[in-house]
């Protein structure tokens, strides 16, 4: 079989769920080559192998942290050597940016936001949800290497143990690759909650919360359910919650098993980020709020009565 390049990225700890999802999908197309940098220790090698990496290729350079275009160079160099049947990245802003430049450099084709990837007689077949997830679209790349940016939760990581070969190479950037540089990074403190895009349950708060302090109610419900916290743009714009938690068109897209919208009206831009959730629950005092059109279960009422009672019930039923 032929190689499938999987951009796992810079590792500074355990391999994330997204990388394992990509490896799981890559196995359908060929032999996964996990491309990474940073701390690729025994544990990382073991994990990547367990999820089917046939080869782990380590880029021995810190330039991948310094120059965003460095990954493009790294993948292009690898692709020149192995003619992969596909290149997979995450469909995050970083992943899509790399995919975009790489597709031009390799004169390949690129598809983003894949929710499924299947082998086909004429190369990988990609499924996307288009137009606010109202449509399912299947596409292929014709001519050139398919570069596919995959959404999180597109596959459930499955083990398929392999004993990976580990290869290494330095990275030689040219001047054009260095033209965009990282000046500084401010890491965010971890909340200990699951990541928004990876969580099985998301509890989101909107303008109905009325203030930053009231978001504690959302956090408490999230913690009781083991959920991630989301927010509407109105709540983010008001400064009640950090922008990285914004769900929607200009925030993140989530597709959890359960999405609970509290005090959120359900504007089209918000829906764009959550309407593929399996089960949708809404709490809103306005029976006419558009969020109820999407909801599998909705409670019309004051969130300051409904949510505390729900919290009590969750605690009581768990006890």
């Amino acid at each position: 079989m032929s190689d499938v390049l999987v951009l796992v990225g810079h590792l500074a700890g355990p391999v994330g769920k997204a990388g394992l999802e990509l490896l799981t999908l890559a196995r359908r197309l060929g032999d996964p080559v996990a491309v990474c940098a940073g701390t690729v220790d025994e544990r990382a090698v073991e994990t990547l192998g367990r999820y089917g990496a046939r080869r782990i290729h380590v880029i021995e350079s810190d330039d991948v942290r310094e120059y965003p275009v460095a990954w493009v160079r790294a993948l292009a160099d690898l692709a020149a050597g192995t003619r992969p049947v596909a290149v997979l990245t995450e469909s995050t802003p970083d992943g899509r940016e790399t995919a975009a430049r790489l597709s031009i450099r390799l004169d390949g084709g690129v598809l983003t936001d894949a929710v499924d990837v299947q082998p086909g007689p004429d190369g990988p077949v990609i499924t996307q949800w288009a137009f606010a997830a109202g449509y399912t679209v299947t596409s292929r790349v014709v001519g050139g290497i398919p570069i596919i940016a995959v959404k999180s939760n597109a596959a459930v990581p499955e083990e398929a143990p392999a004993t990976p070969m580990v290869t290494r190479s330095p990275l030689v950037l040219d001047e054009a690759d260095r033209r965009t540089r990282v000046v500084s990074r401010e890491p965010r403190e971890s909340t200990g909650r699951p990541q928004l895009t990876e969580a099985d349950i998301v509890v989101s708060g909107g303008r109905g919360l009325g203030g930053a302090e009231q978001f504690e109610l959302i956090e408490r419900l999230a913690d009781a359910l083991g959920a991630a916290v989301g927010a509407s743009r109105a709540a983010v714009d008001a400064g009640w919650y950090a922008h990285t938690h914004q769900v929607g068109q200009t925030g993140v897209t989530v597709s959890p098993q359960l999405y609970i919208a509290v005090g959120i009206s359900g504007a089209i831009q918000h829906r764009a980020g959550m309407q593929t959730s399996k089960t949708i629950v809404a709490v809103n005092k306005d029976a006419e709020a558009p969020i109820f059109e999407l909801a599998d279960y909705g409670v019309v009422g004051d969130l300051f009565e409904v949510v505390p009672q729900l919290l009590d019930e969750v605690t009581r039923r768990r006890a």
Partner: protein
């Protein structure tokens, strides 16, 4: 300073999208992509502070796409360029980027501004593709942008897990998010003035873009589009002092608690 803002004419997001028989989006009845207004605004803010700034709005699209340019011009700016050609229909992001890059080579800007994504395709691919074609740096998803006298552009990007500050020397491609500052609303005067501003139309031949690199010859093909089944109507209950318990019952039956 010479700034080009790349804008897109998109179908109304709230309306039901229509498709042509060959799986293209029917582009009749569209508008300036809402997210592009943030890029236009940033260009105009530079023009407001840096004397001698010239702002051109650029689009690739069918004849009605000129409406998007008029709307951008009504917000402000000096001129617009519309690349329009029968051969363009069916172009995907790489083909569009190829055409835009050819137009940019002719317009020789110092700074290219784009939105973080279009509101229809939403791939966010084009800004980075332009940068690759031109061998320029790209600063994408800017929540803040600053230009200094020496020709360095810096942005603040709110990434997952970290805030990143990135920099590059001009010329550069910058894409901006809706966090960067609210777009101005076109004034009546602006709308009137826009009608008199130069709007040039260029063809593929004008730009020397080979027709076999764009349009249906693109690198990706759509095999099928099917409407997803609408969500089944849910159960909506009044709280009546029991809202939390009712919700807990639902979550229990669904095995979430």
């Amino acid at each position: 300073m010479n700034i080009v803002v790349c804008v897109k004419y998109v179908p109304d997001l709230a309306a039901q999208p229509r498709f042509t028989a060959d799986h293209r989006v029917d582009r009749a009845g569209g508008q300036l992509s809402e997210l592009d207004e943030y890029a236009v605004e940033q260009a105009l803010r530079v023009a407001d502070t840096v004397p001698g700034t010239h702002v051109t709005h650029l689009t690739v699209g069918p004849p009605p796409a000129a409406e998007a340019l008029r709307r951008a011009l009504a917000m402000g700016g000096d001129a617009a360029v519309h690349v329009s050609d029968a051969g363009i229909a069916g172009s995907d992001a790489p083909a569009t980027a190829l055409i835009l890059a050819a137009a940019l080579r002719r317009l020789t800007p110092d700074l290219v501004l784009c939105a973080m994504a279009s509101t229809d395709g939403g791939t966010s691919l084009v800004p980075a593709m332009l940068a690759e074609h031109l061998e320029w740096p790209q600063l994408t998803f800017a929540a803040e942008m600053t230009l200094d006298q020496g020709g360095t552009v810096q942005i603040r990007r709110e990434a997952t897990g970290e805030v990143r500050h990135l920099a590059a020397e001009l010329p550069a491609v910058v894409s901006v998010t809706d966090r960067i500052g609210d777009p101005r609303y076109p004034s009546f005067k602006g709308i009137m003035a826009a009608k008199k501003k130069p709007l040039d139309t260029w063809t593929l031949a004008d730009l020397g873009v080979p027709a076999d690199r764009v349009g249906p010859a693109a690198r990706t093909v759509v095999d099928g589009i099917t409407a997803r089944p609408p969500r089944a109507a849910g159960t909506i209950v009044p709280a009546e002092g029991e809202g939390g318990r009712r919700l807990a019952d639902f979550l229990s039956t669904q095995k979430f608690i």
